[in-house]
Symmetry: C2
Subunit: 206 residues, 2 copies
């Protein structure tokens, strides 16, 4: 399956700016992207980047499109019934495993979505030309509606690993707890560890 990985090559991960400076955020985003590319390959997918700017972050084909995410992704989706399905997997799913991606790629349906924490849509498989994305706001809700209004067979994949996009400080704790790729290593080498007290764990930096 063709797997398009949207990548914000400039100013990534601004919601982590209390913990990481701009160069660090770029390094972490690049490491996460390589983890995603590796997991996609291990799941049998053919990854390519859809980047906001030229990048050599990973050894894959790159299409540059500096428009917002929604029109950029819509341009890579199937345009007519003869087109093959396309998967769209976000570049910050640093916990994505081959198993989780296989479940996504192999699920039946015209549209298969992996919801993200907080209403996002972290990954999609689109096999029908009548579906279009809208990443603004609570996109998973919008994608359900768009699929329903088009009369499409819409499914969701239930995966904690695909639900965990790394956007906010609490997500770094998830990366430390469950990650074993380059991004988790980068974070540990940057001095981050778990901060454990009552309730959910957070992160601290030495």
């Amino acid at each position: 399956v063709r797997v398009v990985v949207p990548y914000a090559a400039t100013r990534p991960k601004t919601r982590l700016d209390a913990l990481l400076d701009v160069a660090e955020r770029r390094d972490l985003a690049a490491a996460m992207c390589r983890d995603v590319v590796a997991a996609v390959r291990a799941a049998g997918g053919d990854p390519e980047l859809l980047s906001t700017a030229p990048t050599d972050v990973a050894d894959v084909p790159v299409t540059v499109d500096d428009r917002p995410l929604t029109p950029a992704v819509n341009d890579v989706l199937p345009a007519d019934e003869d087109d093959d399905g396309v998967a769209v997997v976000m570049a910050d799913l640093a916990l994505a495993t081959p198993d989780a991606l296989v479940r996504l790629f192999e699920a039946a349906g015209d549209v298969v979505a992996a919801p993200g924490r907080g209403g996002g849509t972290n990954a999609l498989v689109v096999r029908h030309p009548d579906f279009r994305v809208d990443y603004h706001g609570a996109s998973i809700r919008d994608h359900r509606r768009i699929a329903r209004e088009a009369g499409l067979d819409y499914r969701e994949v239930d995966s904690m690993r695909l639900a965990t996009d790394v956007d906010e400080p609490s997500d770094l704790a998830e990366l430390l707890l469950h990650g074993d790729g380059e991004a988790a290593d980068w974070l540990r080498e940057a001095g981050f560890g778990l901060a454990v007290d009552d309730g959910r764990v957070g992160v601290r930096r030495d």
Copy 2:
């Protein structure tokens, strides 16, 4: 499979106290518990409550144990090799689906865990007497270690629905986005809706 559902009958969900008063928190906790019991039954499990106090919140057998969670749960786990396996499923997994629970119950392994957001262990299947729980702190990390040190076959189930325990205000957004049971209905009837802006959605109350 025998499924023990630990239930805090008194003072539940204190981390929601900015949004819900004590009676409301109790109502929501009860609704979530009934959703979990219904999902367990639909998945073919035999639910029973392990409650901190007598309760008739759900039509299931109740064992009262007012000790902390860790010793109370350890007392229901298999004591020797002839004992059947036991599942432990938290009462606040209001997004749990029968499908997700079937994946948990049917996974191979001496110990199968469903990690929760922030390092918790939201659900477990224990089939070996050498495993004991420790819910303090980042329990999923401790449970991995305890299983490894005992030489057990330890697995994890990758489920967003089992990872989502409802403890904090942001979890209410997950319930509104993905829930279709009594707890989600209760929340909507209490006036909660999604608050959508940039980034992850939150909740507002009318």
